[in-house]
């Protein structure tokens, strides 16, 4: 098993490096010169050249890649062209919005998906199952940004219960900050919940047919008790695995939702950096997203190897 993990680890590193090269090339070749964007419509060629020198844009391509990636490996992500501050700090600041947002979305989607999935599995083909089925179809089909618009229309514009967007900052108090994140979290969570509900239902159904659950039922443990106490824990592995994969979609979905709700998160930073050709910020943020997905995939695979008794037996 150790050698398997080691092999996967090597390929993880290679994948990350290839991804970084790809990201660098794409961002670097994007039409549009960061210096020209900063200096606007009146800049003369000599001012442009001066700024390009200042930003290090006059150096050859391979040198710039090496400079960037070696910095990244040492924890130095470079300095933003537009903000003039270290990118690492910017990313950390933005994570203070994006991470709680993702965490809240995960919490909400679990709170919706697990009870619904379990109940649907318990009463397969019943009314609950049908309703849950319909919910999951709608949930998967609904565009998150549209849901965001409708939530704003209902809760902010019409009812006035919630702010329509923006972020007061954590220093304004946790309650206000969380409140600002609630609607976007719901918009992010519903599609996720729909996927998770399906997975939960399928996983519980499968374990329900297994022996130990049947034994528990036979021992007189109530139907519901058997499901919640025995079937659900046994079904958690696939749920968590799907979760790991979906979590990455959560981060990506945040790009759209953060824009609709005007949250200063990482997705918005990426969007803003692209439009201002703040190339260094883009490279870092996209690499961050990509690394997150790659590492997440790796961990899920690892979890499979470690947790699944069949796989474990096979490999060792």
């Amino acid at each position: 098993m150790a050698s398997l993990i080691a092999r996967r680890l090597v390929s993880l590193v290679v994948t990350l490096l290839v991804t970084s090269l790809l990201i660098f090339l794409v961002m670097d070749l994007l039409p549009g010169d960061p210096a020209a964007v900063m200096l606007g419509t009146s800049a003369s060629p000599d001012t442009l050249a001066a700024l390009q020198r200042e930003l290090g844009l006059d150096q050859p391509l391979p040198l710039r890649y090496l400079g960037w990636i070696s910095g990244v490996l040492q924890g130095d992500l470079g300095t933003s062209y537009t903000y003039g501050v270290p990118v690492a700090g910017l990313i950390v600041e933005r994570l203070a919005v994006t991470l709680p947002l993702a965490a809240m979305a995960i919490l909400i989607s679990l709170m919706i998906a697990v009870p619904m999935g379990v109940e649907a599995a318990r009463r397969q083909k019943g009314l609950v199952d049908l309703t849950v089925g319909l919910f999951s179809y709608i949930g998967i089909a609904v565009p998150a940004f549209w849901l965001g618009l409708l939530l704003i229309l209902l809760f902010a514009t019409n009812l006035g219960w919630m702010p329509a967007g923006g972020f007061p900052g954590w220093e304004a108090g946790a309650l206000l900050a969380l409140q600002a994140l609630l609607l976007p979290a719901v918009a992010l969570a519903l599609p996720q919940a729909a996927v998770l509900t399906r997975v939960t239902r399928a996983a519980v159904l499968e374990t329900l047919s297994e022996d130990f659950v049947r034994t528990a039922r036979a021992k007189g443990l109530g139907e519901g008790g058997a499901v919640w106490r025995h079937a659900l824990p046994a079904s958690l592995v696939p749920i968590i695995a799907v979760f790991g994969l979906q979590a990455t979609f959560l981060v990506a979905g945040a790009v759209l939702v953060e824009n609709v709700f005007n949250l200063p998160g990482l997705g918005r930073l990426a969007y803003q950096a692209l439009s201002q050709r703040d190339v260094i910020v883009m490279q870092d943020v996209v690499l961050f997203f990509a690394a997150l997905v790659i590492v997440m995939n790796f961990l899920v695979e690892l979890a499979y190897i470690l947790v699944d008794p069949r796989l474990r037996a096979e490999r060792s």
């Binding site: 606007g40 419509t41 003369s44 001012t47 537009t82 910017l90 702010p163 900052g169």
Partner: protein
């Protein structure tokens, strides 16, 4: 494993959380010594002397940074750090008498050596000043004594005093200049406190401001950045933001009408929405074609459809804010029949096809779609190619001139000279225009300049190097009790020194 209970508890907790969050008050009454201003765009750095985006000046100009001269709310040039000046007979020597007792926020004393440093930094070889060309006639800077600054010019430059008032000409300190991008230090009535990137910039009153009569009335001021118009409106209504001097979506203005706490103030900006044409390219090299296209457009209907009826149609590249403005919308009024005749004369009786490179911003996209429909009526087919602004637009249109038609709002005040600039993306050449513009620089008499500007406007209106559409309105929305904000915007700015809360 009590998973069911766990989830039950989680559900209850979630419900309580939701209820608590919904009930939490998110509108606090603003204390009367502080103001929160909303802006659509976050500035890219806070140093207006090294980058072009107007949002930089809208936060810092006249609040943190000041210039030798300044522009008042009517667009007139006024003395500021230079209390007076003398211009030599030949218009080539400017002698400024600097104001004594002025210090920067970090304590550095402002004198002629600092002023020389700031001007040399803007015009030097390594300068990255976005308006460096405004300093190109300055040949030498002399400092006979600490309070006297002498600018030697290579030729008379009638607009120099006006240009020195711009955000990009701000006076910066020798010790602080390099860090102004992140921690700006100026001489203004407000000092920089903090910048939460992506959220807001905070300023505080400068207790040591040199002009005791015009010291800031507010204790603190916050600029908050909210890009989505929907969120801007909600923030205003909830009181999270006291003012949005430039509200982004005209269609939402009527939603403030029922609100008796807010007031809406419609003014003019300097943003001229103009559909520029590549005058070097067929068929735009033929003035008759350009005139026909102008006559195909019903500017009132464009303003109605694209900007909900807000905005002033223009007939030249000039706004009602500026001295010498003439209404020239009547030169080529909406007349599709006449337009067709002109096209016929120019040899395009069957119409032609053109492509407009339109930025993604709402005003450009909407205007382009309406123009598309109007051109169709004179047999001209227009394809819309969305071109990302600023990055792709700058490289495609501005630098490479690889376009037929484009549309963009020109934000810089009194910039008729762009039609004489070579190279510039219009590729327009008209010696008689250059002559008039040169005369403007030869004189320092403002009435004479205004008359010459009127002449320049007329030349442009007749020859139509670009289709002049409308001036963006300044859609101001703010708390009724907030006083002192500018109604018009003769230069992109948010001047806070006179802002106060009425009891």
């Amino acid at each position: 494993m009590r998973i069911r209970k766990l989830f039950g508890a989680a559900a209850v907790f979630g419900g309580v959380l939701f209820a608590a969050l919904s009930a939490a008050p998110f509108a606090e009454a603003a204390p009367k010594t502080s103001v929160t201003l909303g802006m659509s765009i976050e500035p890219a750095g806070l140093d207006p002397t090294i980058a072009a985006p107007v949002a930089i000046g809208q936060v810092t100009w006249q609040n943190i940074f000041e210039g030798l001269t300044t522009i008042d709310r009517n667009g007139a040039v006024q003395p500021q750090l230079a209390e007076s000046w003398e211009i030599s007979e030949d218009g080539k020597t400017y002698t400024f008498k600097l104001r004594p007792g002025v210090t920067f926020h970090d304590g550095e004393v402002f004198d002629s050596s600092v002023a020389k440093f700031a001007i040399d930094r803007a015009r030097g070889a390594d300068s990255v000043n976005p308006q460096k060309r405004y300093f190109q006639t300055i040949e030498g800077v002399e400092t006979p004594d600490a309070q006297t600054l002498v600018l030697k010019l290579s030729e008379p430059t009638g607009s120099l005093l006006y240009w020195l008032a711009w955000p990009s000409s701000s006076m910066v300190g020798t010790k602080s200049a390099d860090n102004n991008k992140t921690t700006p230090v100026g001489t203004g009535p407000f000092t920089f406190v903090d910048w939460s990137k992506g959220e807001k910039v905070e300023l505080a009153r400068n207790p040591n401001y040199w002009n005791k009569d015009e010291a800031a009335k507010l204790e603190t001021a916050v600029f908050r950045f909210i890009s989505e118009p929907q969120a801007q409106a909600a923030a205003l209504k909830a009181g999270d933001v006291d003012a949005f001097p430039e509200f982004a979506a005209p269609e939402l203005m009527e939603s403030f009408e029922g609100d008796d706490r807010l007031v809406t103030v419609i003014g003019d900006t300097e943003m001229k929405v103009v559909a520029g044409m590549n005058n070097a390219r067929k068929p735009f090299d033929d003035a008759r074609v350009r005139q026909a296209l102008m006559m195909a457009l019903d500017r009132n209907m464009i303003v109605e459809g694209a900007w909900s009826g807000y905005g002033t149609p223009i007939g030249s590249h000039y706004t009602p804010n500026d001295p010498g403005y003439v209404d020239l919308t009547g030169v080529y009024p909406y007349d599709p029949e006449k337009a067709k005749v002109l096209l016929e004369e120019a040899g395009y009786g069957n119409g032609f096809t053109l492509t407009i490179k339109a930025p993604q911003m709402a005003y450009a996209q909407r205007t382009a779609q309406i123009m598309q429909a109007m051109f169709a009526q004179i047999g001209v087919t227009m394809n819309i190619e969305t071109t990302e602004f600023p990055a792709k637009w700058v490289s495609d249109v501005l630098k490479a001139s690889d376009y037929g038609m484009t549309i963009v709002a020109h934000a810089e005040p009194m910039d008729v000279d762009i039609y004489a600039r070579d190279p510039y993306y219009f590729n327009y050449k008209n010696p008689s225009l250059n002559e008039v513009l040169d005369k403007i620089q030869q004189t320092t008499d403002s009435d004479e300049q205004a008359a010459l500007y009127a002449e320049a406007q007329k030349i442009l209106a007749k020859d139509v190097p670009a289709l002049y559409l409308f001036v963006m309105p300044k859609l101001g929305v703010w708390d009724k009790k907030l006083k002192g904000l500018w109604e018009n915007e003769p230069i992109p700015s948010n001047v806070l020194r006179e802002v106060y809360w009425e009891e």
